[in-house]
Symmetry: C2
Subunit: 367 residues, 2 copies
C-alpha cells in the first residue's frame, strides 16, 4: 500500500463522498478516476458478496456514447462481434481490437436506440480510440463521455434490494438487458450485470449531482438484506474466472488467448477494425492461452503485483497474471497466460516475491 | 491522501526500487504507472530544486516510438507544428490534437533518425491514438512503446552533476537536443529538458533492468552538489507556468486557450489531424484563455483537487485548475482557464473547499 496525491488529472466519482462516509480505506486508479478497493475488512466484504449483497462505486466504468446517423455503423466497425441481432434495451459483452487484432478493451455494449449506444468500458481510452476511427472514416456520429456513472449492487440478495427500490419488474430483466427508470427524481438505467458471478445489477446514474442520494437510497433499502459497502472483489473475480483487462492482458493479447473466441465472428465485414488480423491469428494458431493456477500450500501468499514467471521443465512457459487467496478453495489461485503446450493438470513452479512456489494448472473458472 | 492497492494494471518504473530505498512517501498514477510525488518534506524538496539539484523518476513519460518508412509522414500528420526543420538529435515541444482541434497530449518529439521518432508523452494513450491514425491511413510504420524510461536531473547544479557522469559535452547541449551515450554499460540518451524552469536534463534509460544502477550513479555523482530525491514539483511548475495536460485541460481545450499558439502552424498540410478545426477555431476566435490567479492572504490554503469555480460580478467566468502555496511569492497561486473577457488585474473570487476566497488575475508565468 502506498499513499497517492490528489490531482485534478484524477477525477472523482459522484459516489466519492458516500464512499468516504462509509469508511473507504483504499483506491485504485482506473480510467483516470478513483475506484474504492476496500473498506478495511477484506474477508467480511468477500462473504457479504457471496452470501448477501454488496454496494460498489464503479463509476470508473465510464460510458463512451456513440450517437447519430452512423452510430450503428461505427459500433460494428469497432467490434468484431455480429451486433445485427442486438435489440434496444439489450447489452452485449464485446472485445474491441486494434488493427493487429490485439484487444484494447472489453466493454459492455448497451443499445439505447438505433442511433445511440454506450460502451461501458474497462481501463483504456476508448473515447480517444472511437473518435480516431470515426473521424478517419468520415462517419456522422457524436462521441462523448456522458454524465453516466454505474453503481453496482451484487450478491444473491441483490434482486430483493433492487426490486424494493425500482419495482418487481427488475426481477424479469435478462442478463445484460437494461431499462431506464427513476427513483426520487434521479434518472437511472437499471441493468442486470456486474463484474461478479454472484448475480446483481448495475444502476447507471444519469445525474452526477445525485450520487450520494442514490447511494443512500440503495443502502437503506438493503439494510434488511445485510447490504454493506464493497467493490469489484479481487478474490471472487479470480474464483469466477473474470478477466481484468490490462491486468491479465498485455500489449500483444488477442481475444482467442483469453477465452473470448465466442465474442468474435470471423465472417464479420472486412471494414471491421482488426478482422483481417483476427482471421490470420486463427489460421496460424494461437501461441498462448489462459488457464488457472492452484498453488500448493494452505497459507495466504504475499504475491507480487506484477506478472510472475511460470516455469515448466526448466523453461519459462508463461506468466501468472494475478494471485489471490481464495476463501472458498482455501488455496492461493490465479490466472496463467501460458503456452498452448501447457495443459490443465500440468505441474508448474511460479516465481513469487523472490521465492519459487509449486502448483498445478487447471481450467477456468475455479468455482 | 489515500492508500492505493497494487495491481498488475499499474506498471512499476525501473526506478521504483530506488525510490523506495530513498523513502518515497506518495505517488500519482500517470500513463498507468506510478510516479513518486514526495519524500516527506515538500519545502526541503522544493528548495533543493531551486537552489541545488534534484533527481526525479519520470519513467511515466512513456515513449511512443514511430519507426519505419512512413514515420516522418506520420509524425507530421499527428502534429500541427511544422517539423520540416527538425534535425536528428533535436527535440520539439508539440501539441497533438484530435480532429476537433482539442489537445490530446503535449509531448516532446525526439528525432532519432529520418525513420525513427519518439513521442515522450504526457498522461494520455498516444500509443492507441497513433496506431489508429497510422492504420487507418495505411502508413508503413511500426508503433511501439520501447524499453525507455526518463530519469530527470533538475536544478541549477544539474550541469555539473550530469557533466561529471557523461562528460563536459553535455554542457553544450542546446535546449531539447539530445545525444546517445552510456555509463557503466548502461545505454542512455542524454537530453537537455525537463518539467521545470530550473534547468536540467532527462537521461533516457534504454535498459529497464539497470534503473537502480543509473539512479545510484547519478545520486553519487550529485553528492558534492547537494543532490537528493524529488519529483515534478507542484509549486515550481505553477510558479513557472508549466502546463499539466489533463490537470489544466479538459475535453474541449484547444492549444490557443493554453498559450500553445506558437506550436501550431495554420498553414500545415490539410492531411494533418485537426488542422481544419484549428483554422476554424482561430477564425471564430477563442472563448477561454489561461491566466494566473494570486489569491489574497498569506496562509497556505487547503485547495480542492478538482477545478474550482471563478466568479466575477456574480457570474462564473471560468475555473481555477490548480492551486498551490508558492514558497517564493508567499501566496496561494494557480492557473485560471477563464473567459477571454477576463483580463490580468481583474479581481475574482474562487470557490475553494467550501469557502469563497478573493484574488486577482495575472499573466503567466508568475516568476
Amino acid at each position: 500500500m502506498h499513499s497517492f496525491t490528489p490531482t485534478a488529472r484524477i477525477r472523482k466519482s459522484p459516489f466519492y463522498r458516500a464512499t468516504l462516509a462509509e469508511g473507504v480505506t483504499s483506491f485504485t486508479p482506473y480510467n483516470r478516476m478513483l475506484m474504492p478497493t476496500g473498506y478495511g475488512d477484506p474477508e467480511k466484504e468477500y462473504w457479504r458478496l457471496i452470501e448477501a449483497v454488496s454496494l460498489w462505486d464503479v463509476a470508473i466504468e465510464r460510458q463512451v456514447e456513440l450517437k447519430g446517423r452512423d452510430a450503428a455503423d461505427l459500433v460494428q466497425i469497432l467490434c468484431p462481434r455480429d451486433l445485427s441481432n442486438c435489440a434496444i434495451g439489450q447489452g452485449k459483452y464485446i472485445a474491441l481490437c486494434n488493427h493487429a487484432g490485439t484487444i484494447i478493451n472489453d466493454p459492455i455494449l448497451l443499445k439505447l436506440s438505433d442511433q445511440q449506444y454506450w460502451l461501458s468500458i474497462a481501463d483504456s481510452d476508448v473515447l480517444l480510440w472511437a473518435r480516431a476511427i470515426a473521424a478517419e472514416r468520415g462517419l456522422d456520429v457524436q462521441i462523448s463521455e456522458p454524465d453516466v456513472s454505474p453503481l453496482a449492487v451484487q450478491g444473491p440478495k441483490s434482486d430483493d434490494v433492487v426490486a424494493s427500490v425500482f419495482g418487481d419488474w427488475v426481477r424479469d430483466l435478462k442478463y445484460f438487458w437494461f431499462q431506464p427508470s427513476e427513483v426520487d427524481g434521479i434518472p437511472v438505467a437499471v441493468a442486470r450485470s456486474g463484474w461478479s458471478k454472484q448475480g446483481g445489477f448495475e444502476i447507471y446514474l444519469m445525474d452526477g449531482t445525485r450520487g450520494t442520494d442514490l447511494w443512500n437510497i440503495i443502502r437503506e433499502a438493503g439494510q434488511p438484506h445485510g447490504i454493506g459497502p464493497g467493490n469489484p472483489n479481487a478474490c471472487e473475480r479470480v474464483e469466477s474466472g473474470l478477466l481484468s483487462f490490462g491486468g491479465d492482458t498485455d500489449d500483444e493479447t488477442n481475444p482467442f488467448e483469453i477465452r473470448m473466441e465466442k465474442y468474435v465472428d470471423l465472417d464479420a465485414p472486412d471494414e471491421v477494425v482488426g478482422i483481417q488480423a483476427l482471421r490470420s491469428i486463427v489460421s496460424k494458431g494461437i501461441k498462448r492461452h489462459q488457464l488457472g493456477v492452484i498453488l500448493d500450500g494452505d497459507v495466504p501468499h504475499q504475491p507480487d503485483s506484477d506478472w510472475m514467471s511460470i516455469w515448466q521443465d526448466g523453461t519459462r512457459s508463461g506468466h501468472m497474471t494475478n494471485c489471490i487467496w481464495s476463501y472458498r478453495l482455501k488455496a492461493n489461485i490465479g490466472f496463467a497466460l501460458i503456452s498452448v503446450d501447457a495443459k490443465p493438470g500440468d505441474t508448474v513452479t511460479v516465481d513469487m516475491a523472490g521465492t519459487s512456489v509449486s502448483g498445478r494448472l487447471t481450467r477456468l473458472p475455479f468455482v
